[in-house]
Symmetry: C2
Subunit: 333 residues, 2 copies
C-alpha cells in the first residue's frame, strides 16, 4: 500500500506522454495529488500547483511518486538530488521505473536512515499463493481485449467512477504498474512467477460484500501471443461474473506483432467466454468498450451502433461517451 | 546444460516414488547414468550398479544428480557430507529440490573452491526474451492435456524414442524440472516471470532443420485454473504444428481442484486448437495419448478404440501400447 496523498514528480519530462503515470493519478485520483514538482527543463504540466518538497510536506504529502519515465534507463543525478532530499524530509518514494529504487545504494541508505519506504511497483510485493479456483463472495468484472493497449485500464477506471457515483460498491483492481501507482495498491502481474499468476489475482480480489464489484484491470490479450498466458491467468484467477470486451477498431495489426491481424469482437467473445466459464459457468459478456480515438464523432457513433447490433450488447467509448451503459449492465445483474 | 554422464544420488529415499527423477533418467537416458549412489537407509533401487563417488568418477561421471525428493524440505547433514565430497572430487551437482543448492553456503564454497557448477533446475538459467510470434523453421509438436499429470511428459519422451528409432529427427524439449534433469537442458516454465513465458518457449525451440520435430513437454491444462496461463504460453510460444491430446479417463475431478470436473477430449480439442491457430493457422490435432494405468487391458483397448471413433484421430497409450501411432501421424505431415 502506497500512502497518499502524493506529490507528483515530473522530473525533466520531455512531453506529456512521458508523464503518463502522473496524468493517470491526476485524472483518476485527484484527491491523492497535492501538487507537482518539476525540474527546470520539464516540458510536462499537469495544471496542478507547482510545489517544493517542503511545501508539499506542509500540505500533508506522504509519498513522492515518480510520475514520469526516465530517459536512457538511468536515474540521473538531477533526479537523485531531489529523491534523496525527499527521503530526508520523510517522504516515501514510489516508482514504476525499470531501474529499481532498491538498486540505488544512496536511496536505500537514505530510506533506512530516515525510516522511509521505497515502493518499486514493478516488483511483486507479496508471496502469492497457488490459485485454488474456489468461488468467492462478491462480484467481479474483467476487461478483456482484442489486443494490448486498447483501453482496458481506462475502461475499468471509468466504470469504477461511474458506479461509485451511483452509490454502487466498486473497486478498481490494478494489475499493472500504472494502475498500482494510481490507486496505491495492486498486483504487478507481468512480473509474477508463472505458477502464481492466477493465485495473485485470487489474492487481489478476495471475498467481499455480495453487492460489491471488483473491476479488474485486464492485461494483454488472448490473441497476443507474447502475453496471452498472462491474460489466461487473469480470466481464471479473476473468476469474473462479467466480461467487458475492449476493442480499438482502426488497428491494422497486433501491437508489436506486424504479422498478426487483430480479431473481431465476436471472435474475442467466443474465445474468452468459454474459457471464463471453466472457472465460473455463470460468467457472461455484459458490454463492449470501443476505443474511438482515431475516429470522428459520427464515425464513432456509427461504429458503436453497429457493434451493438452485431453483438446484441451495450457498447460505448467510456472516454468519449461515458461508462454509463457498462455500469447499467452490471447494475442489472 | 547439465554435463553427462551422471551418477544418480538416491539418498535415503523411502520408496521408489520418491526417486521419480532418477527413474526417469534411467528409463529415458540410460546412456547418461553410470550408476546409483544410495545411503544406508535407502529403500529405492534402480537396478543400476551401486557405486561410490570415486568409482563413478573413474567411469567418467561428471555430474551427481539428486534423483530424489528430500524429506521435510531440508538438505540433511547426511546428504551434505556426500554432496560436499562430490564437489571436492570435481563433480557438478544438479537438483530439482525446492531448497536450492545455491542457498547452501557450504555447497557454494566447495563449488567455488573446486571450480564446479551447481545446477538448480527450478531456477530459470537464462534471461528470456519477450515472444515475437514469428514463424520458425522446423516442426513442433506440443502435448496438451485435459488435466495436469495425465502423461504429457511421458508421451513426448516416448514419441522422441519412437521417432529417433525410425531415423526421424526429433528432440524432446523439457519445460519442467524432471524433464530438465533427464535431458540436461530445458526451461523451468513454472518458474519463469509472466512476461517472458512465451518467449522462453520460443528460445527453447529455435529454428531447426525443416524435417526436425521438437516434441515440447506440456504443462498444466487450459482447464486447470491454477496453471492455465502457463499452458497458454506454451501454446503460443511453442507455435506447434501438431497437438497431441492427453487424457486420463478415470479421473473424477481436476488434480488438486475437487470442485472441477475434467473436460472430455473433444472439448480439449475444440478449446486448444483454435488458440494454437492464433499463432499457427496450420496447426492440427494429430493424435490422442490415453493414460490407461487404472484400466484393464480390455478396458484400455475398448476405450482407445472408442476415442478413435469419436475424434477420428489415432489414439494409443504410449506406455502400454507404444507411441507408434503418434509418430506415424507426424511422419505423414
Amino acid at each position: 500500500m502506497i500512502e497518499p496523498p502524493y506529490l507528483l514528480f515530473l522530473g525533466d519530462a520531455p512531453d506529456m506522454l512521458a508523464a503518463k503515470v502522473a496524468v493517470g493519478i491526476r485524472d483518476w485520483r485527484p484527491e491523492s495529488a497535492v501538487g507537482q514538482l518539476r525540474l527546470p527543463d520539464c516540458n510536462a504540466d499537469l495544471g496542478l500547483k507547482d510545489m517544493s518538497l517542503s511545501e508539499a510536506r506542509e500540505k500533508g504529502a506522504r509519498t513522492l511518486v515518480i510520475g514520469v519515465a526516465n530517459r536512457g534507463g538511468v536515474i540521473s543525478q538531477a533526479w537523485k538530488t531531489v529523491l534523496v532530499e525527499a527521503l530526508e524530509m520523510g517522504f516515501d518514494l514510489a516508482s514504476g521505473l525499470h531501474n529499481l529504487l532498491r538498486h540505488e545504494d544512496d536511496l536505500v541508505a537514505a530510506a533506512q536512515t530516515h525510516g522511509c519506504s521505497l515502493h518499486d511497483v514493478r516488483v511483486a510485493a507479496a508471496a502469492y499463493p497457488i490459485a485454488n479456483g474456489k468461488k468467492r463472495t462478491g462480484k467481479r468484472c474483467l476487461a478483456v481485449g482484442t489486443d494490448c493497449s486498447v483501453g482496458k485500464m481506462y475502461t475499468a477506471m471509468a466504470m469504477e467512477r461511474e458506479m461509485r457515483g451511483r452509490g454502487m460498491k466498486a473497486t478498481f483492481r490494478a494489475t499493472g504498474q500504472t494502475g498500482i501507482l494510481i490507486t496505491g495498491h495492486g498486483v504487478p502481474l507481468d512480473a509474477v512467477i508463472a505458477d502464481f499468476m492466477a493465485g495473485s489475482i485470487e489474492y487481489l480480489t478476495p471475498d467481499n460484500d455480495p453487492d460489491h464489484w471488483d473491476l479488474i484491470e485486464g492485461q494483454g490479450s488472448l490473441f497476443h501471443v507474447s502475453y496471452s498466458g498472462v491474460t489466461m491467468a487473469l480470466i481464471h484467477g479473476g473468476r469474473p461474473d462479467a466480461l467487458i470486451l475492449c476493442h480499438e477498431p482502426t488497428r491494422s495489426h497486433m501491437r508489436g506483432l506486424p504479422h498478426y491481424v487483430p480479431p473481431g469482437l465476436a471472435e474475442l467473445r467466443d474465445t474468452a467466454l468459454p474459457l471464463a466459464q471453466v472457472a465460473n459457468p455463470a460468467c457472461v459478456a455484459t458490454g463492449v468498450s470501443v476505443n474511438t480515438q482515431h475516429m470522428s464523432d459520427d464515425e464513432a457513433k456509427a461504429y458503436i451502433s453497429s457493434v451493438e447490433d452485431e453483438l446484441n450488447l451495450p457498447a460505448t467509448d467510456p472516454y468519449r461517451f461515458g461508462a454509463g451503459k457498462l455500469a447499467d449492465s452490471l447494475a442489472a445483474m
